[in-house]
Symmetry: C3
Subunit: 313 residues, 3 copies
């Protein structure tokens, strides 16, 4: 079968067009079926080697990638900042050049610097998947969110999606926005003005200050995790203050349609941005997002290695 | 073949009956043969995913589980406390729910809180194996000790087993006691009164204060590791004092029959609870315990995944 | 095929004769071809278990071993100092005896103490590969350097090889010297007198104080990494002082033939012992060394497990 996908890297949803995103989602749908079988393994990436290089710590993302790689029968190796030669003063590029010289097929990288994945992708022949680069981009999270919306709501076109929380520093928010706009959703963002700049209106996003406005009419609401360090940075006065205005709780959920999906990238600050009963309630698809993340990552790995195989021929 | 085993979890030997324990030991016997072959691998768990989640550090237990899983052809992933979202304030249940959402088959957990494994097992559909929860239970260690006794002595029924050391804080001691009593052994415990409470007599264990009494007539003596932090806690005055009364050494070994087995769960404090020459001597089966641990864990993994497979049908 | 290799361990190139070294290089040549295929995996070590026990931290060496093991289809487990029972006061020998008791086939060990690998090899039945023991030996690094020289220059016999840097504390230097002398190369060493003792002349090495003398006439120059802690130890006055006399840079490269190979074991201190443009220039084979390291380690693993298999028959 001829694939639309013709890239050695996945760096950002900003770089992709609607057809490329759709092909990833369709491929992921097939792999979701594999994950529901008793034997959850396919030989697609047998003999391929993938290095998960997580300079910034992570649990669920690295676990999800590692499981995705193993279910595709790839060989996987994890490198963390503490075990890498970065500690000896080696540059990031030299470290990854060395990994590349060991003839690995793909490097999945998480790094605190925005643009780190792009920089490596441009300077190396090995395939690069961005697993989060600072506040910039986290494309597989955006894809798994969009996959979950599409699966539950049928189509992204015309869907009203509200993203609530820290948009300014949020790679999850950015990846959602780029992907959703490409597929024709109506995107609303909401949060403290310090964390939700008006400038986003210029790319076609509706910005609102009150959670009530973001919840009313929404088909999907994506509640972002509030990071305590933002409070220290002066972006909002206190966690209690944030919760009062921007949490989804017993008081604010009344503005939301009972058919609307509630999403969260995890880990949840229960009682801060999201009440515990709502996180575990009937509208929540939070754990399904995790399940879908695996399928989406299998899809991305499959398409990229497929492209690399064809290139070599 | 129809199995006696009908549980999704292994939490404690206290929960098992004699038939269930015996089935694990019999299954482990088969896997011990596999480990003696040149190619030590069987495809029994191919396509299964097992997460080893060790919130409390460990070497030989996690190594033994990981090897057992790989020899059964499962895919394995290790998560430690430092790499988990527990650090970001996520609850243990949420962390493991996320792991479960990635459609793994089994979680092997070690945690410092007694009851942690039980709590997860009750709240999750995924299979849970307790690899040590605080002072409470460490069932696979109990099983490998009992396996070694049965292999060397033929039967557990009527066997005189003395356990010497910290019974109060010891999950190894507890797991031995529960398992041995179910299979009909006569169990003696011995150590400083602060660490060996008289209350144990109520469950049918003989308690004695002098090592001579524990050694005389014993078929097996299981010397527990003395943890230095107990001394700081005031449970015994000094390591030298402890050794004087409760060590197995040149002076005390004369009370022990030359046919008796000497066991220790490791790592040994050489010269504290056990003399070096005795640890390496002809009565010691300490390294065979390690070898048998692998077979026992393969047996447990095999029976639990077999049960989970049948459940799904 | 009958192999020359009849050893259960690889401890040091000092222990090997020219035929044994040559057999490793020839075997590695075959595996280099495997690594250039699309499916880089062979079933040679299926069912074998290899433990990488790195008491001293490492990135590229452990990554290279792990990849080599996986490409041979072995099961691999990594243990670091922080996760081992060494922390609980267990001796190194007891820790590795326990690993051996789990019926693993090979232990790859890195340790800060010279002789650690030899000590374990003598006291255990399991195969031991030395991945670096203090300042003593790092045989697979020596082999990959020699492999690269042989591949590029055709033969080691009569080759003029200059090694520049810290010879005294350098396991890379020592392994290079032993291996190169066995195969008939002419070896020159150069560096500050505190780091390049005259005593080396007694084993047939030319010692020189000026980099010009080491570079002129060299077919290969192996630039060693300067470790900052040597400066604190008083072995040279400052990094700038070291660079002034012993760096390969725009000024000194004019003494080197344009046909000469430039090597470095990595990670490079760019601008200290080696200029950035030279490290990335046409004479540099630094990344090829990394690529060859994988093939060499596959060769070593293959020959040792082959010998162990025959022993058991």
């Amino acid at each position: 079968m001829d694939h639309i996908w013709k890239k050695k890297d996945l760096l950002s949803l900003y770089d992709l067009n609607a057809d490329e995103i759709t092909e990833i989602l369709d491929t992921a749908e097939e792999f979701k079926k594999v994950n529901q079988r008793n034997v959850k393994k396919v030989p697609a990436l047998r003999g391929k080697t993938i290095v998960n290089f997580f300079v910034e710590p992570s649990t669920r993302t690295i676990l999800s990638f590692e499981l995705a790689e193993k279910r595709l029968s790839a060989d996987t190796i994890n490198i963390s900042a503490s075990t890498s030669s970065l500690k000896k003063g080696e540059t990031l590029l030299d470290t990854v050049r060395n990994i590349e010289a060991m003839q690995v097929d793909l490097v999945v990288i998480r790094h605190s610097a925005p643009g780190a994945a792009d920089f490596l992708a441009k300077n190396l022949n090995v395939g690069v998947i961005n697993a989060g680069d600072g506040a910039h981009s986290h494309p597989t999270q955006g894809l798994l969110d969009i996959f979950t919306m599409r699966e539950k709501k049928g189509s992204i076109k015309g869907l009203n999606v509200s993203i609530i929380g820290d948009i300014l520093h949020g790679r999850v928010a950015r990846s959602n926005i780029w992907g959703l706009l490409k597929l024709g959703a109506n995107v609303t963002i909401c949060g403290p003005r310090t964390l939700v700049p008006r400038e986003f209106e210029q790319i076609g996003v509706r910005v609102c200050d009150k959670i009530q406005d973001a919840l009313e009419g929404a088909d999907v609401v994506n509640m972002l995790r509030i990071q305590q360090e933002r409070q220290e940075g002066g972006f909002f006065p206190s966690t209690a203050e944030y919760s009062k205005y921007f949490a989804l709780n017993k008081r604010t959920i009344k503005y939301l349609s009972p058919d609307a999906l509630i999403m969260h990238p995890g880990p949840i600050n229960r009682g801060v941005e999201l009440d515990s009963e709502i996180a575990d309630g009937p509208q929540s698809v939070i754990l399904e997002q995790v399940t879908n993340g695996l399928a989406v990552r299998m899809g991305v790995l499959y398409l990229i290695t497929g492209f690399l195989n064809n290139e070599k021929k």
